[in-house]
Structures are given as C-alpha cells and as structure tokens.
C-alpha cells in the first residue's frame, strides 16, 4: 500500500527546465518515479530527460493523467504554480520551494482544502514511498521499502533518521515531509491517520521540533492509535527563541517547548528518542525485532 503516492502515481514536474528541477528529475527517474510530464510556461515543446514539457498544467492534463505534481519554481511564482495545479484537478501537490511569503501559503492551503487535495510544503524535501515513488529532493540511496512510516517537518533531519533506519535494515512504507514553513498543507495528525489505516505501515516515526503546538495536538490522536509511535523532537539544547511581539507568546501560552512536547507525547504512549540515533532501537523494540 503506502500512503499518498505509490508505483502507479503519474507525476508532473513544475518548472522542469530549471537547474535544480532538471537535476532532481533525473534523480527521481532513477528512483523509479513515473514522471509523465513537465511544465514551464513558455518552454512548451522541449523535452527534459525524455519527458515532454508543456506550457500550462491544463495542457499537460489534456495529454496525460496527472496524479501528483512536484513544484520547483522560484518563490515569487510559487503561489501561481500551486494554484494552477490545484485548479487543474491535481490531488497531490508537493512544493519544494522555500522562501514563499506566508500569506501566499495561507491562500494555497485554503484553496487545496476546498479542492480536497493534499499539499506538502512549502519548503518540503518531498515524499518517498519506499522503493516505489519519490517526489522531491532526498538522496535516493537511503530510502528503501519497508514497514516504518515516517512523518517530519524538517528535511535533513529526516535523512539523518531515515539513513539510520535503513542502516539498521528498517525500510519505510512512506516518508512524508510536511514542510518546514509556518503555514503548510498537512499536520502530523493528518498523516498519522493515513498511517494508522495503511496495511504496509507497522510503526510510525514522527520527527518534530520545538515551537508551535503541532506535536501536542498530534499527541491527542496518538492516544487512540493502535500502531506504535516513536518520536524525536529537535531543539532540546536551543536557547529560548525570539518571539514576535506579544502575539506569539499569547498564542502559544507556554506550549512549544521541548519539555512540553516530550511530556505530551510520552503521556499519549509514544516513545521519545533522546537523540536521532536512538530511533532505530526504539523502532525495533516496538516491532519486536531483536
């Protein structure tokens, strides 16, 4: 099974003619991703890595079934690109771009909700269903097929932990990057619900960080889950962060600290790994592997 994407997902690469996008198109193809089309306004008619490029997403959708798009366009053009894909009916939109204005993000996320689509990012490394399909930028060799679902905010921290899992023979069903920005499409709870329903997934690794209250909200759902959850929270050693006027402090009211998150998750029955490389052992224990 896996969640959100699999070996049958037809993928479009938005901005495919760009330097980063063409490099990662090659990497995604090497992983086995079924990329069927690319789109760059004004560059229609050319090919990148053998993939046909179209001027608009609608045009690509007339020629191909597009299940998911991965966006690599510059930040000022990202809102337009994301809305174009959602409006054309694409149900999974992965936005790799970082530096997108927060009010653009809010608009994208609200529109996706009205269309019943998933948005990953902005500022996500992407999503990988182990051995089946990769959308985004993670290095291929660390992501293998298996039974562990992984959900995270931060990219490189995920590579770090997934790399450790793979080195310990623990493959992944799907690794989901929600994105590191303030307003992103998915929350931990959305993804945990999908993993709970997924047959292939036997345990879930949740990679959070200090700030916000997403992890605390997720803890409420973890109480109901039948599958084991192993969490890692980055930022234990971070000095108290900067805050925005009084408003940030008022919203959070003491939430968002390392200690608060660990307590909420532990009380919900999750196992919290003190350091990144403690994760594989906790996963093995949860799965009954020696």
């Amino acid at each position: 099974m896996a969640i959100i994407i699999d070996e049958n997902t037809n993928v479009l690469v938005m901005g495919i003619t760009g330097r980063q996008a063409s490099f990662h198109t090659k990497q995604m193809l090497a992983y086995g991703t079924k990329i069927v089309a690319g789109c760059t306004p004004g560059k229609g008619g050319v090919e990148v890595e053998g993939i046909p490029v179209y001027n608009t997403v609608r045009e690509a959708c007339e020629k191909h079934r597009i299940d998911a798009s991965v966006i690599f366009v510059p930040a000022p053009a990202t809102k337009d690109a994301a809305l174009e894909n959602l409006e054309a009916g694409v149900k999974v939109v992965v936005i790799v771009t970082e530096g997108v204005p927060v009010y653009d993000e809010i608009e994208i996320v609200a529109y996706a909700k009205s269309k019943g689509a998933y948005v990953l990012g902005p500022n996500t490394f992407g999503i990988v269903s182990g051995g089946k399909c990769k959308m985004g930028i993670p290095p291929n060799q660390y992501f293998i097929k298996g039974e562990v679902g992984v959900v995270a905010r931060s990219g490189t921290l995920t590579y770090e932990i997934v790399g450790n899992l793979t080195a310990n023979g623990l493959g992944q069903s799907t690794v989901v990057g929600m994105g590191g920005d303030r307003a992103v499409g998915l929350t931990f709870i959305d993804v945990l619900k999908l993993f709970e329903k997924d047959d292939q997934t036997k345990a879930v690794v949740m990679i959070g960080e200090i700030g916000g209250n997403n992890e605390e909200i997720a803890a409420e759902y973890i109480k109901e889950m039948t599958k084991p959850v192993i969490a890692f929270i980055a930022g234990k050693s971070a000095p108290p962060g900067k805050r925005m006027g009084h408003a940030g402090a008022i919203i959070e009211r003491g939430k968002g600290t390392y200690q608060g998150k660990v307590e909420a998750l532990t009380a919900a029955g999750a196992k919290v790994a003190p350091l990144t490389f403690d994760v594989p052992q906790l996963v093995k224990e949860a799965l009954g592997i020696k």
Binding site: Q20, H24, Q27, A75, P76, V96, E98, G99, P101, V102, Y103, E105, I106, E107, A110, S114, F125, I137, P139, Y142, A152, S154, G155, T156, L157, T158, Y159, E160, G163, N164, G180, R182, A183, V184, G185, T187, I207, E209, G212, N213, N214, I217, A234, G235, K236, S237, A238, P239, M244, G245, H246, A247, A249, I250, I251, R253, P274, L275, T276, F277
Partner: protein, 371 residues
C-alpha cells in the same frame, strides 16, 4: 523585518488608521520644532527595536518645546538593551481613558491569520486571564468581514452602537488590510486607547514577512540583525550566536538543531547555530566557513546530509578556505553523506581529510580533539 514604531504609525496613517499627531526627528532642535507645532504637552519616545523602552527611561513627557528639546537630547544619547537611540518620535500627549489590545498575526497551526483582541490592554497584556483575550481566526477565503469584527467587539464587552465600538470595527478591518497588502506577519497595537471620543493607536509593532520583501519595494528597510547575523543573512543563511566553543555548520534547521543537541548530550558546547541548507553553493558556503572561523572557536564541526545541498559543493568550499588560509587554525571534523557524496569525499581526500559516515561518531571526535 521589524519596523520602528514611527514607521508602523506612518503605515497606519497611510491606511487611514488613527494615530497621535507627531513626527520622527533625529536631533533636539527638530524635537523642539515639532513640540511647538503640536502646542501642548508631548511625549518623546526613543525609537529602538526593543521592548521595555519606558522602564529604561526612553520615554519622556515634556510640557513645553524647551523641555522637549532637552528630553530629546537625553534620549538621543541613550543606549537601550545594547541598541543606540538614533531617532525619537515626538507626539501629542494623549489623554488616556482606557487601554485596549489589538493584533493580527499568523497562526501556523491553524494555517490562518488570527486576530487577538482584549478590552484590557497595556503593559500587562500577557498576564491577563484567558477569558479577557479574544482570539478569532480569519478565513482567508472571506477576509476580515465587518460581521467578524462586530462579533469580536461584542466579545470584548464593548457596546456596538457606541462611537468607540464602531471605530474599532473599522480599525480591525484596516489592520487586516495592512497585513494582506503589506505582507505583515504581525501588526500589533498595544495600547489602543480611548481618548475622549477618539480611538487612537498609541503604539505600533509591525513585522513584515522577510520572504515577501521582494514585493515590498516601497517600504523603508530596517536592519534588525547583529553584524554576524547580517553577514549570514546576506548569504541567505540563518545564524544564531551561542556561548560554547565548537563552531557548527549543518544543512537544514532540523539537522542543525539535532547536531547541537548531540554535541551537548556528549558534553560539548556549540558556539553557534548555522543552517547552510537549501542548496547553498560553493562560494556562499566558503564565506559561511569564514564567518564561523571569525568566531574564534576551539573546533569546527561540519555535518552535512546532502539532499538539495551537494556534497561536492561543500567539499570544494572547504578546500577553497583551506587553500586560501593554508590550512585551518583549529581542529575540524566533517561528516559528509548524501547527494554527490563520492565526489565530495574525493575532494576532501585530496587535502588529507577523511569524512565521517555518522553524526554521532563525528560529534564524539570533535569533542575529543578540542580537549
């Protein structure tokens, strides 16, 4: 980007939001002039990007233009929380009948803007009980409609048919307009005051989304960072100085935090947080290494798990600095894996450096080396 109070108030005035009469000045003579124009008791407020200006003596209440001149002279020679006062705002002194609180900010968890309002504003807003603080999320499809503002005013306990109630409904809508049109991630008025029949923004706190600066060309630029932070920000990197002795470079905020956590767990102390993620190229990475060496650490730990960041770019940058300086002045440990890993390691080998595979091994090694 944080704006000075006077800039925020100029922005408010441009949008039709009521602010006190007054002007920003940079010398005592101009302060005297503005006070004479106002013609009555004034306030002279230091303009620095920090709170607690009042407690530091940075706000004075002169009654005459001569007193205003003297007050400005004093305040302009002050340093508040390490920040020199370079300008002051001279304003009419308001008769304050009541202080309220009003702000709009982005709530990432809700993926929406949220308006926060209280009929009990002023210095102690953070200590007010939860029931006095009204929070209302703003549906981005609707914007801040008048009915939303009316409902918040009702919950604040303010009569909707009062002149003040009607005025606050208008102010709330203007505040949201500023957020959307100016990409403000925070707009805060504390206090919003009743002054006779008028409702006036007695203070302003505005933060513009750094990511939106490309389309905010008409706003004044405020440099709100320390020199090292500025140097890193100019390279597109986020950087925070800490107290320890191991300089750290990693790629991505999460792994950088994870690296600091690991060093600390093994008994090391990080000198900084530096996230050089997001496909930072060779040249920028080399400059970032120079910033780190400029901190005079006892050791340097580089922890790269390349995704969009390419290991060969990092290795080349490391080599560039090595060659330019004829070696590194302190012990260095590099953990290098991910995209273009083999190419990166070959480059490091050419200058005699063996990269580590795992973060924990690298972290242990650098701590040993600086003992």
């Amino acid at each position: 980007m944080k704006m000075f109070e006077y800039m925020g108030k100029e922005l408010f005035a441009k949008f039709g939001l009521p602010v006190p009469k007054g002007r920003m000045v940079t010398n005592p003579e101009d302060a005297e002039k503005v006070a004479a124009e106002i013609g009555g008791p004034c306030v002279v407020k230091s303009q620095v990007l920090s709170g607690k200006r009042g407690k530091a003596g940075g706000i004075k209440f002169p009654n005459t233009p001569e007193e205003a001149k003297k007050a400005a002279e004093e305040v302009l020679s002050m340093t508040i929380q390490g920040l020199p006062v370079e300008c002051v705002l001279v304003e009419e002194k308001l008769q304050i009948d009541k202080e309220l609180y009003l702000s709009i900010t982005v709530d990432g968890s809700a993926k929406q803007a949220v308006m926060i309002a209280s009929a009990y504003g002023g210095m102690d807003i953070e200590d007010q009980p939860e029931e006095y603080i009204i929070k209302r999320h703003i549906d981005p499809n609707l914007g801040l409609q008048p009915f939303v503002a009316r409902d918040v005013v009702r919950k604040m306990g303010i009569p909707l048919n009062s002149p003040q109630g009607k005025e606050i409904v208008k102010i709330m809508q203007l505040l949201y307009k500023i957020c959307i049109e100016k990409d403000a991630e925070l707009v805060e008025i504390n206090p919003l005051v009743y002054s006779g029949d008028r409702v006036i923004a007695a203070d302003s706190k505005v933060t513009i989304d750094d990511d939106a600066m490309f389309r905010m060309k008409d706003l004044p630029f405020v440099d709100d960072k320390s020199p090292a932070e500025r140097a890193a920000a100019d390279l597109g990197l986020s950087f925070v100085e800490l107290e320890g002795d191991i300089a750290v470079m990693a790629n991505g905020a999460g792994i950088t935090m994870g690296t600091l956590d690991t060093l600390q767990a093994f008994g090391g102390t990080p000198r900084n947080f530096l996230d050089c993620g997001g496909g930072t190229g060779r040249e920028a990475t080399a400059k970032a290494l120079e910033i780190l060496l400029g901190l005079k650490p006892k050791g340097l730990f580089i922890n790269i798990f390349g995704g969009i960041t390419r290991c060969d770019d990092v290795a080349n940058a490391f080599k560039d600095v090595y060659e330019a300086r004829g070696g590194y002045p302190v012990p260095v440990v590099i953990r290098l894996v991910g995209t273009n890993q083999e190419a990166g390691r070959e480059i490091l080998k050419s200058i005699g450096i063996e990269a580590f595979d795992f973060m924990e091994d690298g972290a242990r090694r650098i701590i040993e080396l600086i003992k």
